[in-house]
């Protein structure tokens, strides 16, 4: 691999976890996980904010003491006045960089150094340069992008650190309607926080019992887990400097350690994949988007296919 800088970012917890579970998760990340940056804060549903509010201060304190760089996440879908107000005050008051996940945060962050999350549509370098001129210093690219686009964007956008989702179920859609509440006989306005019962998402199967998607409140995520391990070296070669691990309900410290080992060439990618399947057995792995295929697909390394090894 190149000698270029490369680190791991822990993305925000997208699911609704009980406050204490959430706090303990981050305490352990602070103490044990080899990640340089931690993006933190509710991203999916404004109704959930009170679950983690009481724990944010101690979590941040522990992270900072452990040398982690904090980035505050913002809401992915902002439609209500109180949601606009929340994003405005978060940005106004934040002592840490903020990650924009919708256009309102993007608008409010102009002129100060900020991050762009994977839910903002950056499909080309022209767009990335527009965002860079407005102060974006780190852009996590959308999971849908193939490697060819990533290469092109990174090589034509100087002065920005690029990040790619390397682990976790992929965010695929967000809606004003809560399919999660609907599946349990509620509507969004009276959801009773049923998404709390599914800390890793609620599986959606086809009528032929194929595992397909998972519901996370108003968000729909992939059933498969994005796993870019064999691809890390190529991405570093393209100039991608950060790799995002999106928390699932599994041992994320082990995930971070594993990705760190592979990223620095101490563990072979194939061994890494086998270990990854053990750490998070709940979801099959996928990397199809990266290879220009359907996102759910698993594309084995080309050279292995060619040689018939490890197929």
């Amino acid at each position: 691999m190149n000698a270029g800088k490369r680190t791991l970012t822990l993305g925000p917890v997208l699911y609704l976890w009980e406050g204490e579970k959430w706090r303990d998760f981050y305490f352990r990340i602070a103490d044990e996980a080899p990640v340089s940056h931690v993006v933190i804060g509710e991203t999916v549903c404004s109704k959930r904010l009170h679950f983690t509010d009481p724990y944010i201060a101690p979590v941040i304190e522990r992270m900072v003491a452990a040398g982690k760089r904090i980035v505050f996440s913002t809401l992915a879908l902002v439609t209500l006045e109180r949601e606009s107000q929340y994003v405005r005050s978060l940005i106004a008051d934040s002592p840490y960089p903020v990650e924009a996940n919708d256009l309102s945060a993007l608008a409010l962050l102009e002129g100060e150094p900020h991050w762009i999350g994977p839910l903002v549509n950056v499909y080309n370098a022209a767009t990335a340069r527009v965002l860079a001129r407005r102060g974006a210093g780190n852009v996590c690219l959308p999971p849908e992008l193939p490697a060819s686009s990533i290469n092109e964007i990174v090589s034509h956008t100087p002065g920005v650190d690029f990040e790619v989702l390397a682990f976790g179920r992929m965010p695929l859609a967000i809606s004003a309607r809560c399919a999660h509440a609907r599946a349990k006989g509620h509507i969004k306005d009276n959801c009773q926080f049923v998404c709390k019962d599914d800390p890793d998402g609620l599986p959606v199967k086809t009528l032929d019992r194929q595992s397909f998607l998972a519901l996370n409140c108003v968000q729909t995520v992939s059933f498969t887990c994005q796993a870019l391990l064999s691809e890390l070296s190529g991405l570093v070669g393209s100039g991608v400097s950060r790799f995002r691990l999106s928390p699932q309900d599994c041992d994320m410290v082990a995930v971070a350690r594993l990705y760190n080992e592979v990223l620095h060439g101490r563990v072979d990618a194939e061994d890494g994949l086998a270990r990854s399947r053990q750490i998070y057995p709940a979801a099959p792995l996928s990397n199809g988007f990266h290879h220009g295929q359907e996102g759910a697909a698993w594309i084995a390394r080309a050279r292995n296919v060619a040689h018939g090894a490890n197929a």
Partner: protein
Amino acid sequence: MELICPAGTPAAFREAVDAGADAVYCGFRDETNARNFPGLNFSREELGDAIAYARRRGAQTFVALNTFMRAGHEGLWYQAATDAVRLGADALILADFGLMAHVAETYPEQRLHVSVQASASNPDAVNFLVEAFGARRVVLPRTLTISDIARLARQIRCEIEVFVFGGLCVMAEGRCSLSSYATGKSPNMNGVCSPASHVRYRQDRGDLVSELGAYTINRFPRDEAAGYPTLCKGRFDIADARGYAFEDPVSLDVMDQIDALREAGVSALKIEGRQRGKAYVAEVVSTLRKALAATPEERRTLLARLRLLSEGQRTTSGAYEKRWR
């Protein structure tokens, strides 16, 4: 309020103009627009003729360039913008910031509309697009209630266009990769959703099974009419529940709310359906034109007739109604 009508073919375009469209929106025959379906859309020459036809009858033409530019191939979108401007498009409907910046800089006089695909759902977002790119109008995502729209209208500095009739995205538009997760082809990158190239129907134990890519999207017993397997309108199993997980096979119809939309500050009403035939376009446009001028009672009668044209003959107010959420 203006009536903005779809056209996937020159014939549908003329029907829409003749039926009373204030403006017709359409796209080029490639991936630069979000209805990149086989057999649809316009060559440069066809667009030029269409614009001239509309202009002679006092109608405007909006050109949708509302996909996201594929990295390294931006020239395709830039050329489409250049050609649309040259041919006299009254507005370009854009979603990609890079393309908006290019158009705002290269053609500062060109009227720029924000596509629904840009997902500008709140005042800060809309005002950003007005300030950064000179957007004159925003097409709002189908995630807002009418009272949300009224509140938004008071806080933004551009016109508002909303979808009132036709297909309904359940997910926030421009932010959905469900189609590419199953097929590799997405609205944002390829201008298609649940593309026909990846659809298959098969018989299984008396059911008609519809598939998208490798996935079953629905099963229809013999006595049930089968529908197209649009991913978010499929039937799935979730825990112990089986059914339409995201949305039933319904289409949007909020024409009974047009007075409320007008009061909310909406400038233009948009009809979805560039993939529809010219007969459908003619019927919908002429009926909605009449409905706009009718009394509420007359309007109900007019709209009841139209429901027969809707997908599955069932309609919804979608997110415009709070309970839908």
